[in-house]
């Protein structure tokens, strides 16, 4: 290399100053090749310290800087900013942690000093191999594609569309509203679901910045945050349309577990065994009737249908069943309503009050561990269930099954198209289950509502609004985005085209160029995690800020 390296050791007051012999450190490194200056300072992160460093970088005409101080977590950014202000590329600065890793770890001053010298030497040899990296700026498209026109999709569009942001909704069925269309009402106190949805659809139709494609499907979508190219297949024979958007929201909702999968439930075989959606339909038309046209005198509402099969709780069914029980008690005189449940899952603050209200109406609650079978018996339906190892039975006129929520039929296809991972339940996997509940690993692709897992309407609305919050803050009209610069690059001459890297990339940043037979990293998507570098059998992929040579030389010096 040609250049001047400056090494600055921070005393961090007594933290390093008293635990490490800094003069000895300076003496050991001052004569190393290319080290122009090696100096100590009281507290480099203080305002005086930062000023001092900036002046030094200019005065000594440094090309590379090593700072031996604290953890990069504390002050790497601080010193990179100082370098930038001094006109030095911030990636030519290396922070060496001699506080946490030397001074605080090793009580023996001499040993701590020895270790610090090795670490600083390692930092010097590494920094001399650093490349100046420059942030690129990319223009963004602020428009958004929403896949799915249910309540989540509608709410997302309503929360986003405006003067400087157009939203496209692509819905595969002929009308908007999704599954909520099939529900009779929200909770009894909250009015009809249909009018809620209609109100939202009316607002949506009045919004000139929302374009709706019903009976349509997204057949291709590729790109990255700010720049996606999407192909929409419109209707049966209406052809394709290409659009450009900056973000994609997957709001493809859910399907219901089919109780016919388990013959014990009797659906399709036993008369008057229906699903909760069929009951909702009867409630909507106010015709809750048996096959013989008479109103039922007794009903069993059966919870958790499909829970064991699917392995998770759908969390909305308990409340929804309570709602239906409430309705039945109100509308059918002297009707006997029994809920057969496992555990009541009422995790929202208003749920328990509602449960108590339903209980007061005379709805009975029977706990069961398992439904054994549902069959016709003596003109009625017998529901046999197990509790604490014992079998019990009740007879009713009508049995209503409440099936679990499962991923929608299309979710797999859409996930594949967008390169999104699914979790073991088949729902879309969050970027981080705790901290990023509506983001996916693909930057610019979000998910909302039941595409991520079972949810009630308010939770779906919150998630829709949350995707809007994220998109409005990341795609700002006129503002460019700056992707990560410490990315991976493929050296085409070494790439054998084995595509191992494609399978390990969490962010979907790598694609395969079939003409050249090599992998290609999209630098706008790559986050520089290095998984591909580690996995590449021929060493063809290189991380720009963690090259093999940099790491090798660094380790070599540390061990020497």
């Amino acid at each position: 290399m040609n250049g001047n390296i400056g090494v600055y050791v921070c005393e961090c007051g007594p933290n390093i100053g008293e635990k490490i012999d800094i003069d000895k450190v300076l003496e050991a490194i001052a004569s190393l090749p290319h080290v122009k200056v090696a100096k100590r300072f009281g507290l480099l992160c203080s305002n005086d310290g930062k000023k001092y460093l900036e002046d030094e970088m200019r005065k000594e005409e440094l090309t590379h800087v090593v700072i031996a101080a604290c953890s990069p977590r504390d002050h790497e950014q601080t010193f990179m900013t100082v370098a930038e202000r001094a006109g030095l590329n911030p990636y030519l600065v290396q922070l060496v942690n001699i506080r946490e890793q030397c001074a605080w770890m090793i009580p023996d001053k001499e040993a701590a000093t020895e270790k610090a010298i090795k670490y600083i030497r390692a930092g010097i040899s590494r920094v001399s191999l650093h490349q100046a990296l420059t942030k690129k700026e990319l223009e963004v498209c602020t428009d958004v594609l929403v896949i799915g026109g249910g309540i989540s999709g509608i709410e997302t569009a309503l929360s986003l569309a405006g003067e400087d942001r157009k939203v496209f909704i692509v819905e595969k069925s002929e009308e908007l509203g999704g599954k909520a269309n099939k529900l009779s009402r929200l909770l009894p106190h909250q009015g009809s679901t249909l009018s809620l949805i209609q109100e939202k659809i009316d607002t949506l139709n009045k919004n000139a910045h929302i374009e709706v494609f019903t009976g349509s499907q997204v057949v291709d979508a590729r790109g990255f945050l700010g720049n996606f190219e999407v192909v929409i297949q419109k209707g049966e024979n209406a052809g394709e349309q290409e659009i450009k958007v900056g973000a994609v929201v997957v709001a493809t909702g859910f399907d219901l577990f089919n109780p016919e999968e388990n013959p014990a439930y009797g659906l399709g075989k036993v008369d008057n065994v229906v699903t909760s959606l069929q009951l909702e339909e009867m409630i909507k038309t106010e015709k809750v009737l048996l096959k013989n046209g008479k109103p039922p005198r007794s009903l069993a509402l059966i919870h958790c249908v499909g829970r064991s099969e699917k392995g998770y709780c759908s969390k909305t069914c308990c409340l929804n069943i309570l709602k239906n029980a409430h309705f039945l008690k109100d509308k059918i005189k002297d009707v006997d309503v029994t809920e057969i449940y496992r555990d009541l899952c009422l995790p929202n603050k208003a749920d328990q009050d509602y449960y108590e209200e339903v209980e007061k109406k005379g709805v009975k609650f029977l706990r069961s561990n398992e439904i054994v079978n549902i069959k016709a018996e003596g003109g009625q339906i017998s529901v046999e269930y197990k509790i604490d190892g014992k079998s019990k039975k009740i007879s009713v006129d009508m049995a209503v099954l409440s099936p679990a929520m499962i991923p929608s039929a299309d979710s797999k296809k859409i996930a594949e198209m967008l390169n999104l991972p699914l979790d073991p339940t088949g729902f879309i996997k969050e970027a981080h289950g705790m901290l990023e509940p509506i983001a996916t690993p693909i930057e610019g692709v979000f998910a909302a509502g039941c595409s991520l897992g079972p949810k009630n309407i308010p939770e779906s609305i919150i998630q829709a609004q949350a995707t809007a919050g994220n998109i409005i803050s990341s795609l700002i009209p006129g503002k460019k985005i700056k992707p990560e610069v410490k990315v991976s690059v493929v050296r085409e001459e070494f790439c054998t085209g084995c595509q191992t890297c494609l399978s390990v990339c969490f962010y979907g940043a790598i694609s395969f160029d079939p003409h050249k037979g090599v992998s290609v990293v999209n630098e706008a998507i790559c986050r520089g995690c290095g998984s591909c570098v580690g996995s590449c059998p021929s060493g063809a992929i290189r991380s720009k800020h963690f090259t093999y040579t940099q790491l090798y030389r660094e380790v070599l010096e540390a061990l020497r």
Partner: protein, 424 residues
Amino acid sequence: MKQHNVMVVGAGVAGMKASLLLAQAGVKVHLIERESLIGGQTIKFEEVYPNMECATCMVAPIQQDVLQNEDIEVSLLSTLKKVEEKSDSYEVEIEKKARYVSLENCIGCNACFDPCPVELDNTFEENLSKKKAISVPCPGALPNVPTIDPANCLRLNGKKKDCKACQEACMFDAVDFSQKDEKVKIDVGAIIVTTGFDMFDVKPLDEYGYGKYPNVYTAMEFERLYAQNGPTEGKLVLRDDKPIKSIGIIHCIGRKELGYCSGVCCMYSAKIAQFLKHKAPDAKIHEFYRDLCIPGKSYQNFYESTRKKGVNFIRFNEIHVGKSNGNIEITCSEENGQDQKIKADMVILSPALIPGKDTETLAKILGVGLDTHGFFATQNQQLSPVITEKKGIFIAGCAEGPKDIPDSIAQAEAAVGKVLLHLQ
């Protein structure tokens, strides 16, 4: 977009995530926090379900981002005193208590603790350990700068006016007794309230033996006992040092009294059982629950893995913690009417989540309503879960009702979306 400032009240996960997202949108944020540190309740947990991630490690990068973000001005030890509604903004008066330690000068070396002559209960550690009158709540607190408690510092409370033990120990000129509490007025275009929750107080309830028997703990006490940065550095030691052979974890503490399910206790109780299996592998663990509420796509798996580890789940109707032959004995009646008696060396109570203690005062100051349980009311819980009756004031996280971390964050992000539209 008009560039108004936004105030976020409460620096837990919801408040921090909201602030970062607002800053990303180019909005200037005033993040107000009552305590001396940011991070809220999450940083008290060693690990969080269902992936058993280290919570402090998970949140630390967010805390750092908040503290380093130039568009977020964090006011610690601060509370809202007055909010005046103007035509399209709010004028907020903040009371900022003195820290007596300079955030700029202090490097967090902790040299000031030892010389301080005053020892106090550490409330952050659920009083399981002592701290000095100059202290940080726990190792790793961010910002890593101590606070002097003026009520107990001998110099500041006037008992020994010339004490300067901490000041002399500080090599960075960071201790500053001349700091004063101050009132600051800030104009903001919108306010997001993310003041979180408290835990239901188990002390007044006689039947659980809390306070009567030393080895009855609350879940939060247990969290600190288990934490690597807690009072025992993660060592599971009982208050009376006895060995642990049998443990009872009791769910739903306060549910009946409060009239709602908190939605998170079953899962955090199962998490505690998994912790215990790890730290006390030979102990028998009994979970006493009413209804299992495990509403998440991966939660049932977590529950089943807890069961597979040998944790005994018992459904109860009534429960009582008493003593027999000098040992703690849990008596519970099951749903089928049968009684069970189980001896336990340690009992952990899993209390409900309740509104934060300042909720009522804050609601009055803001002019927004509360729901029947004392949480902040939103305009329509079903359809506008973040909007209050006051234009420009939004609620997110547990301030609105009990919820887990991802739901709190989703609500915070939803509030940000609403704020950004509101400011347009």
